[in-house]
Symmetry: C2
Subunit: 225 residues, 2 copies
DNA sequence: AACCATTTGTCGGCTATATTACAGTTACTG
DNA sequence: CAGTAACTGTAATATAGCCGACAAATGGTT
């Protein structure tokens, strides 16, 4: 991987646009780069130094494993998203891994400590980053508020709506989403059982609201969602 | 309110400890200061410039009102906490107010824009602030994770435990908490109905786990919680 | 083609919790 | 001290959605 290519990989993220070549090179010296295939599991080894990751291509899910071995989906990361220790505080006890959902992914990473140095030298970037973290917080708050106050059906609707808006391809009022999730994944995201999710999806299919297959989901009329 | 007193009000918050007198004076020039009594309602008027608040004394709750007029508790703010537009992004549509829970409160505030200027001039403070926001995010994530995966009883236990640790006065293994919340408040915080909360509290009382009154809550044995 | 793992579909029974409804208790206010 | 508003207590009913169990479909692999 050539230095200048790495440069562009970081540069085209809005957070890094204001940086000069020199500034990014500081990060790049230690920038990691990784490709992976569908189904692969990427561990954030806690022995390693804490890092911040940038997903350049594809989709992954972050899965947390609790004491009893239950797996819960913490986050779905899409192209262009930053993930990892965004709070700039390493937390050791969390037991998480990432699983590749799309056919292949490309991931950049850099050390948290280097990123901190960069922020110290770039106050305006530090401010942007603070706002970025704040925005993330607001989103999380919102989605949790949904989880708590709405029923499973509404949650699924909302989820599909968000997904369609973020990644769907729209023509007229129908939206086609590339479906890289299983019904079980979706159930976990909207915090319900797999069975309930299945039932709701089928219900929507018989209603004509969506056409569901393992490859793609078609929302026939976005306005009705 | 004398300038130097305002200075100390800000200065003794850990976030502002690194600032010089001069730096804080910048904020102080426009620092607001306010006292209020129990039951008073403080509106964050959206017409006003966005502010960041610091609760110097007492307790307040932040209540959000949705379209249908339902009220939900968004946050309980305690002495020393920052609140308001922590994300540094004004958001206009949110309809929130603060209600004073303790006998009286003292609140400092300063303009978000002034705070931003300060962060731009103090990169290391910007970094601390980012970590602070991050910590807040982590807490929120945690409490929501509890809300979703645990049942009402566990949630109440957890809530009491947290409360006792934060504000309780401990002697041996018994903890006394100054109870400025109604059972309805608690129910809202742990996201359950008032009736369920009442039942659970009574159950705990007959079990001997707690002694409940409107003035204080005594946890007889902290180890059993 | 045969096999196996994963994903999806379906069905009752079960339980925690919301909801409705009302009664009793506290504590402030004139 | 009476009156009222805000809390707290209790019980009966209704239900969303979890769970276990199993069958069917799909898709990849040898």
């Amino acid at each position: 991987m050539y230095e200048d290519l790495k440069y562009w990989y970081l540069r085209d993220h809005k957070l890094f646009r204001t940086l000069s070549f020199g500034q990014i090179r500081q990060l790049c010296i230690i920038t990691g780069f990784k490709k992976a295939q569908k189904g692969e599991i990427i561990y954030f080894s806690s022995s390693d130094l804490p890092r911040i990751f940038l997903l350049k291509k594809g989709n992954i899910k972050i899965v947390a494993v609790d004491e009893e071995g239950n797996e819960t989906i913490k986050d779905i990361i899409q192209k262009g998203d930053l993930f990892g220790e965004l709070t700039l505080e390493a937390d050791s006890q969390s037991n998480e891994y990432a699983k590749v959902l799309s056919d292949d992914v490309a991931i950049c990473s850099f050390l948290m400590s280097d990123f901190e140095d960069l922020l110290l030298r770039n106050p305006s970037m530090a401010l942007s980053y603070t706002k970025f973290v704040g925005l993330k917080m607001k989103r999380i708050k919102n989605s949790y508020a949904n989880l708590i106050s709405k029923d499973a059906k509404t949650r699924l609707f909302q989820f599909l709506k968000d997904w369609a808006e973020k990644e769907g391809v729209r023509t007229e009022n129908t939206v086609v989403i590339d479906n890289y999730l299983t019904q079980n994944d979706m159930a976990q995201i909207i915090c319900t059982s797999r069975q309930t999710a299945t039932q709701l999806l089928n219900e929507m299919e018989t209603n004509g609201t969506i056409v569901y297959s393992r490859k793609e989901i078609i929302i026939t009329d976005m306005r009705k969602l």
